[in-house]
Amino acid sequence: MIELLGWVPLFPFLGFLILVFAGERLSKPIIPWVGAGSVGISALLTALIGAEFLRGTMEPYRMFSGYWMALDDMSVPFGFYLDALSMTMLFVVSGVGFLIHVYSAGFMESDPGYARFFAYMNLFVSAMLVLVLADNLVLLYLGWEGVGLGSYLLIGFWYEDPDNGHAARKAFVMTRIGDTSMALGLFLLFTHLHTFDIQFLMIRAGNEWTPGTWLPVVSAALLLGGALGKSAQLPLQTWLPDAMAGPTPVSALIHAATMVTAGVYLIARTHDLFLLAPSVQFAVGIIGAITLLIAGFSALAQTDIKRILAYSTISQIGYMFLALGVGAWSAAIFHLLTHAFFKALLFLAAGAVIFCFHHEHNIFKMGGLRKPMPLTFWSFMIGCAALSALPFTSGFYSKHEILLAAFEVSPVLWAAGCLGALITGIYSFRLVFVVFFGTQSQSVEKGIGWRMAAPLVLLGILALFGGLLQIPMDSVFPGSANTDTDHAFNLVSALTIAAPFAGLLIAVLFYLSGTFSAQRLANYGWARLVRQFFLSGCGFDAIYANLLVRPFVSIAKLNKNDVVDLLYLGIAWLSREFHRIARTSQTGRVRWYASSMALGAVFILAIGLLS
């Protein structure tokens, strides 16, 4: 079965081609069969390949299917590389991707761009599969840019609204900053190590470079730049909340489960390089810790259901970066896996709420939806429990592992993670209590069909029990941080477990029992300012607008009439002026011409005689 690996990214691409060239002519019931079906075949193949792979020795499998470019000393093959890491990513992308495609078949049914939507989604899945399977950095970069394109197209899917187009451009440009940095890193690695193959690169880097010298540090930092852009981490995180302009299944697939975790995958894939650059690796952890706090605080103040989830995504990816920074590679990938389950579940459930509730996004206009929408309510409960890492949900195992590993490296990072867990508890249960409890303001418009319900149920099961699915990563990562049971019940562990409960308690007091009123708190002057600060995502948009966007726009305005053109305009003006002056000499009088000629002749004779 494993020889069929190359077909896994190919099927969604075929689906994309069919939908692009024949999508408008296909009848409506066929479109989801093509769109979701192609991903379904990939998911099936992945399951078969995965079964064979996991039963075997888990030896890395390489597949070569021709050259993309082959030059003198540079060759880029279409080569795929399957190990425990890419296997995990493959499960997430094709499995969760398939469930979200099924959900989309119901969610997007009444949209006029049905075929276009599935075409973009298939393109995205195909590119994402190439990204995780690529055995060399150039092919990985192809997938990397492919998912960026898919993300851009899908954020701006409802392009009639200029705001959506703006959000799409913002996401594209912000991630492009990171991508440029990553491309530079690629070039640097190639010029010094003369190969693009990731495994060879890592081996050669280990052999030729001494840890902590400038080469590994700079190249790791450049790759980190790419990861920061794609994974929406500080300082490039501002695009993700705006990316919620896209349809909700898009947010679930691209901006929660798969694409935004590509940065985590990249760092895990090139972990040998980061081990050679300890300072950069530590920076990864610091950035993760700061990002998870900033995003958590921002999520507290949001009122848009999707923006809350977007900030929580940034925050959870912050946890993954934190794990990478402290060398808990497998814990990071484990959290990536469980996060994909529960965050996809949360987004799909949020989509169900939006779908059934008049396309309302403001959580304070909802309320009491527990009774009319039991399935969605329970999905949300499971999702939020896993998100805030309550014990025995999938998120608990992965986050617990991360925090314990962080404590062994730096208690400060651990404290930041625990504070983040507390905040996560508050904002996720605030969301549940406000939306599903209280009094119902409006009646529910319509129900969800089986196509939307089935993915919710399956993802709910995965979010609950996904913690048991951890694929052993010992074959990929060296000395994976081993968080065994010898300190399982000490104080650190207890605090780590208790943090989300404290958050839950605060959420209960504020939003369920009404013991304290968030409204009254927000009326104090300083509290209002703080709330405003968090609502704006800690002011990063304003900083960038003032620091970069406005100066750029004003320079553009200055140059509106094209300063460089002035030179050429000046030449044209000068020749026109000369022409105007010279024109007056053409009087039409013959005698005038004759005397000019005579004068000229005298002048030339004089020159001839006198010189």
Binding site: Q586, G588, V590, R591, A594, A598
Partner: protein, 102 residues
């Protein structure tokens, strides 16, 4: 036979040439301008003759013949133009026929 010095001959031709030029520049009647042109042409012809006789060469007289035919042709075209101008504008004033100006 008393030879006329070359300088005197050339001086005469220069005087004639300048007189012709002045005539071209100051007269407004087209006929008078043509006549002044003839004077200028003959002045140059005279210069050639004088030079030819000074060095005893026939070239000067050949050039004079050339100038003569040239002058005849010029007068033919010039008078034709003058006739046409008089026909159209009912005047022979060179200044009043100045429509081709920039």
């Amino acid at each position: 036979m008393n030879e006329i010095p070359m300088e005197l001959g050339l001086l005469l031709s220069v005087v004639l040439f300048v007189l012709g030029l002045i005539g071209v520049l100051v007269r407004r009647n087209l006929i008078m301008i043509l006549m002044s042109l003839e004077v200028m042409l003959n002045a140059t012809g005279l210069a050639f003759i004088v030079a030819g006789s000074r060095w005893g060469q026939a070239d000067g007289q050949i050039m004079f013949l050339l100038i003569l035919t040239l002058a005849a042709a010029e007068v033919g075209v010039g008078l034709g133009l003058a006739l046409q101008i008089f026909h159209r504008f009912h005047t022979l004033d060179a200044d009043s026929v100045s429509e081709m100006k920039g």
